[in-house]
């Protein structure tokens, strides 16, 4: 280090610093361009009619209403299934599981599941839910597939939330003669709920943008009635967007962009709620 000329070393440091800075800016610039592109193209097509209409053969008449309803219903199923199983798993791993081989295996397994491509979950859902269980290309099959897909994220974020409850607080409860379950239900879970909720909303927002596995388990591309039960045909926002994007005529791109705006706004809302919950209800110890 000492041998080189100090001036040139300092200069080099400056040059590289601006290079590193520009790399960061480039990444951010892509985000800006993406938003600009989507909003500039979609804004003109975004109106109440677009939000409340069904798909149509003409771009001006097409709407995303069944996608919105389908996505929300799908998330309803996912929330019920993944939240119940995910929180139970997290409680088991954090509070009950002894440090044994089985729980270690479950932990490693969950970590690996989180890295499985989402489309593979689609194949799982296709074999099991669509064919073996005989559900067919229906809402329930999509919901169960999606629930398994986001389960690892729900488990990991719930584990983190449970872990953030300090040992002293648990000790206080055990010291009063509370049983393990009482301590979990009355002290640990209430204290962890904001964190768990935040994690769940973020997991759901991951699920609401997923497209590929739902294509595999047969979400319809265009439907003209709203799903009425768990066994209805359905579509979701990302699939409608995908289909519009894939059409060659330019007008459909604008429709797709309008759909993306709706999707992004919903995602933004979900994230805002998550952040709000975290800031408002999270106990700081």
């Amino acid at each position: 280090m000492e041998t080189k000329n100090l001036k040139s070393r300092v200069l080099k440091n400056r040059v590289m610093k601006s290079l590193f800075f520009s790399a960061t800016v480039i990444a951010l610039l892509f985000l800006v361009m993406l938003f600009y592109r989507v909003f500039s193209q979609g804004w003109g097509y975004l109106n109440l009619n677009f939000i409340t209409s069904f798909p149509a053969p003409y771009p001006e008449e097409a709407g995303i209403w069944p996608g919105i309803v389908g996505s929300l219903m799908l998330m309803g199923i996912v929330a019920v299934v993944a939240v119940f199983i995910g929180i139970s798993t997290a409680i088991y791993l954090e509070e009950y599981s002894p440090q044994n081989k089985l729980s270690e295996f479950i932990r490693v397994n969950i970590q690996n599941l989180a890295g499985v491509p989402s489309i593979v979950f689609g194949l799982l859902g296709l074999t099991f839910f669509v064919y073996l269980f005989g559900i067919g290309y229906r809402l329930l099959a999509g919901g169960l597939t999606m629930a398994l897909l986001i389960l690892p994220i729900v488990v990991v974020s719930s584990q983190e939330a449970l872990r953030s409850v300090p040992a002293e607080v648990k000790e206080a409860s055990y010291g009063m003669g509370a049983s393990k379950w009482q301590t979990i239900v009355r002290v640990i879970l209430p204290a962890a709920v904001p964190g768990i909720l935040t994690g769940i909303i973020l997991s759901l927002s991951r699920g609401i943008g997923e497209t590929a596995p739902l294509i595999i388990v047969g979400a319809a591309t265009a439907i003209y009635t709203l799903p009425e039960s768990l066994l209805s045909k359905y579509t979701v926002m990302p699939i409608q967007i995908y289909k519009w994007t894939a059409r060659p005529q330019e007008e459909w791109q604008f429709v797709a962009a309008a759909g993306i705006i709706v999707l992004l706004v919903i995602l933004l809302l979900m994230n805002a709620i998550a952040v709000w919950i975290r800031n408002k209800y999270q106990t700081r110890y």
Partner: protein, 321 residues
């Protein structure tokens, strides 16, 4: 003795008195029953925890079962050595799909690694705490955008721009898809690498600064080498993500399986084929249906190897301090 004392004390403040002790003793027998029930709770919870294991088992079972079905009709050697993939006319050589996936992954890596690493160095070594705290969440927005949106961006924005630079570029091409997949994984590379660099003890940095090193020299000669295994683990994990990415390549890279390493060509990845075949009228039990799974298991194994490799490297990394 105590009871009397307590009662005399209470009568001063309230008309009624409660003897907590005797009340609690009353409740005791009821509690014992409840406690018996509580003993089965861990088993119920374990049952839920086993769902994740069942999921893995289910994935393996599905992929293996249908793949075995596939290989009873198409030879495994033909599948892994054949250079022609046109399943609707009976040609099942998977190499074009693998090369398509590989091409996309290479392009994505070329984009994501420099951008991600440089951002990580900037955030970890140069940026002030407040700058880092603003930029990191914004980068994470990039990671939270649905892939179908990236696909739209690739097809309608990146491709036209690239076409104006490279006129012979076809509408669907590996370059555009690969670049956008790269952008998608930048936050992952940046954020995980930055974590690794942050974990480098400050004492190492201070030692180098004491010798008169500039920030750049400290970053390149001390921090990056010390964090190298963490960085490599991040890159490997990001590559695994790129291999499994579906919507961007389905929308932007096309549906032409071809054994090419030319980024301006249209290609089809493994994931894009699975989408294509599942969207068409694929009947249960047909050869196309089975081929989905043969391709699926290839994809699964590839990403799994990457994930395990990444875990292995980062575990070694943690041992270093």
């Amino acid at each position: 003795m105590k009871g009397v004392y307590v009662m005399s004390r209470i009568s001063a403040t309230s008309s009624q008195t409660v003897n907590v002790r005797s009340l609690l003793d009353e409740k005791r027998s009821k509690k014992l029953k409840v406690r018996k029930l509580e003993n089965i709770i861990p088993y119920l919870l374990l049952l839920c925890a086993l769902v994740s294991i069942l999921t893995t088992a289910g994935i393996l079972f599905t992929l293996l079962r249908e793949t075995v079905g596939f290989f009873s009709e198409v030879s495994i050697i033909e599948f892994y050595t054949g250079t022609n993939w046109s399943p609707w006319s009976g040609d099942f050589g998977v190499l074009p799909l693998i090369s398509g996936t590989l091409l996309i992954t290479v392009i994505a890596t070329v984009v994501a690694v420099p951008l991600g690493l440089m951002s990580a160095i900037f955030l970890s070594e140069y940026a002030s705490e407040s700058v880092r705290k603003t930029i990191k969440p914004i980068l994470e927005i990039l990671a939270g955008i649905p892939t179908v949106v990236y696909g739209f961006f690739a097809l309608t924005f990146v491709t036209p721009i690239l076409q104006s630079i490279i006129p012979e570029l076809s509408i669907f091409n590996a370059l555009s898809g690969g670049v956008v997949v790269g952008i998608m994984i930048v936050p992952m590379v940046a954020s995980l690498s930055e974590d690794a660099m942050n974990a480098v003890p400050n004492s190492l940095r201070e030692g180098a600064y004491a010798l008169g090193g500039t920030r750049l020299e400290v970053a390149i000669k001390v921090v990056v080498p010390a964090a190298l295994s963490g960085i490599i683990a991040a890159v490997v994990l990001a590559i695994s993500r790129a291999i499994g990415e579906t919507m961007i390549v389905t929308i932007a890279a096309g549906a032409t399986p071809s054994l090419t390493m030319n980024p301006t060509d249209s290609v089809q990845t493994m994931t894009a084929f699975i989408v294509q075949a599942a969207t068409g009228d694929t009947t249960f039990g047909s050869i196309i249906y089975y081929s989905l799974y043969a391709v699926g298991i290839t994809l699964f194994v590839l990403t799994m190897i990457m994930n395990l490799l990444s875990q292995y490297i980062s575990r070694k990394f943690r041992e270093e301090y």
